[in-house]
């Protein structure tokens, strides 16, 4: 993962959007919005005429470790003033307005913001007051509207959740992380040779005990067993463990268990393993 901010106390790079909270009502909500912003590597909060003190104890407690965002927040009298130095402005709204404007998903907006930033433009996203949302005059200051696709019969998000979803998409657009990977805790993956040695060990024991005695079905059964273990994406250590599992199931405490040095002993796999 490539975090956009390496040091959480340093201001986010110039490419990060300012999140402008317009007339937020409760300091607590400003705090939870700050927390959501920092989750997404954003620390440029702007406040337009907040009703309460955004540095109150309540706000700082709600920020839950993101106090730095509140301390760096800049306060303005009007939305116009908060946006004066911005080139591209997006407004989040939950309901459609009587305005002819592009309306985009947060995912699309993330690309728009990043592209604008790459072109040297300063960006901002507007968020309205908790109950009422942005006024039309605020929305009219924006180039486009961001609308989160959500359950149409239960769309209402609180302020921090709206901030989180827009910030999340912005962060994802900059993440250089594979969508899926195997977490191995430093364990090395087994290569094909090691797998094949295990398969041969397993199959020879299954031949010996009679599990694969049906000659017609044997090739299919072997393929299915191999596929099952291949799908598991085994590490070297796991293959060693499986060798042990097979050996102990086969021989356990049986009195006829071959001695370690004997040819054809169950420890053969240990020699073949690296070969």
């Amino acid at each position: 993962m490539t975090p956009p901010t390496k040091d959480p106390n340093a201001p986010a790079a110039d490419t990060a959007p300012a999140f402008v909270l317009v007339r937020p009502q409760l300091a607590e909500n400003v705090g939870t919005a700050a927390r959501a912003m920092l989750n997404c590597g954003l620390d440029r909060m702007r406040l337009v005429a907040p009703r309460e003190d955004w540095l109150s104890e309540k706000a700082i407690a709600a920020a839950s470790g993101a106090e730095i965002v509140l301390r760096h927040a800049r306060c303005y009298d009007s939305t116009e003033a908060a946006l004066a130095d911005r080139h591209r402005v997006l407004a989040t709204t939950a309901r459609r307005r009587e305005m002819i404007k592009p309306v985009m998903t947060p995912r699309h907006a993330a690309g728009v913001i990043r592209a604008a930033a790459q072109g040297g433009q300063a960006t901002a996203v507007l968020f309205g007051p908790e109950r009422t949302g942005l006024e039309n005059d605020d929305v009219a200051l924006a180039d486009a509207i961001v609308e989160v696709p959500l359950n149409p019969v239960h769309r209402s998000l609180n302020l921090a959740q709206a901030v989180l979803l827009v910030g999340y998409e912005w962060f994802q657009a900059g993440v250089d992380q594979p969508p899926v990977e195997l977490l191995t805790n430093g364990g090395e993956m087994a290569d094909r040779a090691m797998l094949l040695t295990f398969f041969r060990h397993l199959e020879s024991e299954l031949d010996a005990c009679g599990f694969l005695r049906n000659a017609d079905k044997r090739p299919g059964m072997v393929r299915n067993l191999r596929s099952l273990f291949e799908r598991a994406e085994l590490t070297r250590q796991e293959v060693r463990t499986l060798h042990g599992v097979v050996k102990e199931l086969r021989w356990g405490r049986r009195p006829d268990r071959p001695r370690r040095s004997e040819g054809g002993s169950p420890d053969d796999w240990a020699r073949g393993e690296e070969g």
Copy 2:
């Protein structure tokens, strides 16, 4: 947009994942998680040994309209019991475990869940208690881990936010909505003919008043002006408004303003508009 649930009171389609909250501590957090679920069209909540009553007044107030999710929630003694009828299980975690498991983003997980559901498999996503997250034994019950890519130095999400992000991605994977569109409130877009009539009106007035007098620069200036208006993606009504703007700027209350019926009058555009 294609909502996954048309009727919010009907249970979500069988294709929806169950969200399993393991040992949640505060009823209020169960409520906000329910709200976040319903935002994403999800109403299959399962609770494993919740500490408080998930139908308390506090929980219902926190659910903010998503009481239905709480009322339908099913309660289990153990994570194993909650997962018994599930085929594919994902566990959300904030920290890496000593386990060899695929770890995926919520976006990738959304595809995995939808693909499994298409194949007739029942799915679940596990969420741990507020402070501690899932225990290793819970994680071990899952096929894979979901980890939200977030600011590595400020990853901590509250329960409802984790639920929201995973649910949001699931919802997005089923949304059939263009990432960006022009919101026109039913206004029809202007076609090229209408635009060109406006361009000719504007340019003839700019010729008349001398703005385009530099013959060398005229072609470039005309192209730039046309591009500017084209970029705006004008509706028919907006083009009519712009004709009016040009006409009034040019003639306003001037005594020599041509009469309506005269040839070459500023009302010419109105005739050309539809031609």
